[in-house]
Symmetry: D2
Subunit: 220 residues, 4 copies
């Protein structure tokens, strides 16, 4: 019997190439990929041109019924991302902490998924429904908004009717809600800072394993 390969998609909301969020997300996904039949991919939102949702609600009208993509206002790189969202089995979204929350870049990506929701009239409706989601956050301060950033990501998952998981069954000296790192005492600008954060590194591996675990429990 053919075993279906399951995919976990990582989404980095960091504006900095090879920055600490990228690194931590790569570690999470690499850990997930250690399991047989799990394939992973990371998209770095800075590589995509994404307009801000203008709240036109066209995706929720009949105008969206027969369209190739859910968003009728913008024909931009979100059209490269919608299929990846629709096809994945699990989602790990990561962000640096900016003012206690996700980056504007990541929020723009989130806002543009309106056409994947229950309100959509497009064929993309429910694209993320019942998929497994976990979050990842890196802050320049130790307790500088990582929890709230993870909750922001979780809120996105709940709106999409996803199944939300934290860091799994192991001892969790880092964080329960998700992968959680800090660049402190290094400056946030230092691109290797996260590699010294043992708790952050551990929590990244934990969510990698956790998303795999729950995908498998779901028999997806």
């Amino acid at each position: 019997m053919a075993v279906r390969i399951k995919t976990i998609l990582g989404v980095s909301g960091s504006p900095r190439k090879d920055g600490n969020v990228d690194k931590l997300l790569q570690i999470a996904l690499k850990e997930a990929a250690r399991t047989q039949n799990i394939k992973t991919e990371i998209v770095y939102l800075r590589d995509y041109k994404i307009e801000n949702c203008n709240s036109c609600f066209a995706c929720c009208t009949d105008a969206a019924l027969d369209k190739e993509f859910p968003c009728l206002s913008f024909n931009d790189d979100m059209n490269l991302l919608y299929p990846k969202l629709a096809e994945c089995d699990g989602l790990i979204i990561g962000s640096p902490v900016f003012f206690g929350s996700v980056t504007a870049q990541l929020k723009a990506f989130m806002d543009r998924t309106e056409g994947l929701l229950r309100y959509s009239k497009s064929k993309w409706k429910y694209s993320l429904s019942n998929k497994v989601g976990a979050g990842l956050a890196v802050g320049g301060n130790r307790n500088g908004g990582q929890e709230f950033t993870l909750q922001t990501i979780h809120y996105f998952y709940f709106v999409h009717n996803m199944i939300v998981v934290g860091t799994g069954p192991e001892l969790t000296p880092g964080c329960y809600l998700g992968a959680c790192g800090t660049t402190f005492p290094e400056k946030g600008k230092v691109r290797e800072a996260i590699l010294k954060d043992d708790l952050g590194l551990k929590s990244a591996k934990m969510i990698g394993r956790r998303v795999v675990e729950v995908i498998q429990l779901l028999g997806r």
Copy 2:
């Protein structure tokens, strides 16, 4: 082949018998029980004598290894509740909103489950791991802390390594995070107030269905 009956446990943190949280929780559980092979039970915490955790950490020491119950400090009615927690497949915790969060009564119950966590040395370790959890909140004001109360319940679930779900795939005019009602414009004291809150009633049914759905997806 024998089909395993799955159980969803409701926990009411309301101090008021037959109050609005009780009613809404009953509606949620009744909706869940409409599915074949789903059994439900509600415990009303006000009927149980529950001491506050004194942070002795005995449950996390070898002293807990061979004990019947996880808590070594108190021999109280939590010992009636631990088995119910261990045996359920899904958990729906409900609370009135007190100062934006759960009641002290509910928090006392939560705090006393330390011995079910990963840190426990007792046989109750991981009792709630991988179970499905949803939340329910009723506030006297329209936006008076329901969301934060649901997040407080979710935090409890994440710490217990549970799988957290919201209100499901349907249109959600009420709340994404969980069942969410308000007694406004009636006074909170009015015991029938919630029955006039259509959105609250709908969201309660939705989480009942949602917890069943994810339990079934998990093949539990």
Copy 3:
């Protein structure tokens, strides 16, 4: 003795001109302006071209020391907004709820204020310190993220060392955290929907009065 005129700045993060957030924010500011010697102004972020922060941290280096504006990466319309932020005595930020949180447009504005923080090396350092802040949120669902959106705005205020206030001393059937409306049962697209939301309207007036009250208590 000359009385100093105090200014309250409203910031609308809505992409929709004359939409429900605009209307509710106008009501809040109009209420504030009923007090003598209070001047108000609203900026609509959609009228400003604002790049996303690229996390260059230049504002936190010596390169920022002698510059006219805090951001060295972008010379865009934020340079019109920094002076308004620096000059106001109180700030009321409003957003429609998008996925439980503020819009990407609003987040972009927030992220670009890094150079006003304690980390800044520019003359804009501490521009918002000790100013009074309140939040405003409008959601398409009744309990659809308004609270969390207000907390997102509050987080921004806390990072800026501001003084954070809610809806004031009156009866608060709407929300304690801030002005909180819903367009339900109308569709979010309906531009007059908020005018039917009595609780939302009331809460908007309340934060208008509350910000004035605390500015006056501060003797600013």
Copy 4:
């Protein structure tokens, strides 16, 4: 001219005498007391017998009009605490993190202040209105709920129409929202653990200074 002495009240929600929350709170209050004309006091809730609010709402009825104390259901040690709350100028509430939030003991104290709210018919109405509040949290894990615990304390303050502040203008490697410590890598049970947490210690001093600063800005 006589200078009015201003009082900052600390409230410890820890069940453990001389535990890490006590120590951190003492440091915060000691720092505050370094300012002339600032007096501080700490109450340790474990020393007080406090019943859980039974949601009788009597404090919001005419029955409360002429009573000495706001709560009509219980004549317990809250009656020793109401005057302290009414008399203070600033409030610093601290809690260990239990399941991501405050302890049940602390929540019981919070819930019993209903009669100090706008809904009260007692003479204690508005007792906390316009006072300055800051929070303090200590978690056994690094990012184990400290932020959410601080937000729980903030919610209480917002409901009471207080003025909410964070950690002040200094560099904040610890946390913006409030004083924030961790006993990690020591076990939570170790009573000296927090003394090794430099960031936690610093943030405690910072909120001590911050509450004083805003009390003085208010001219109280």
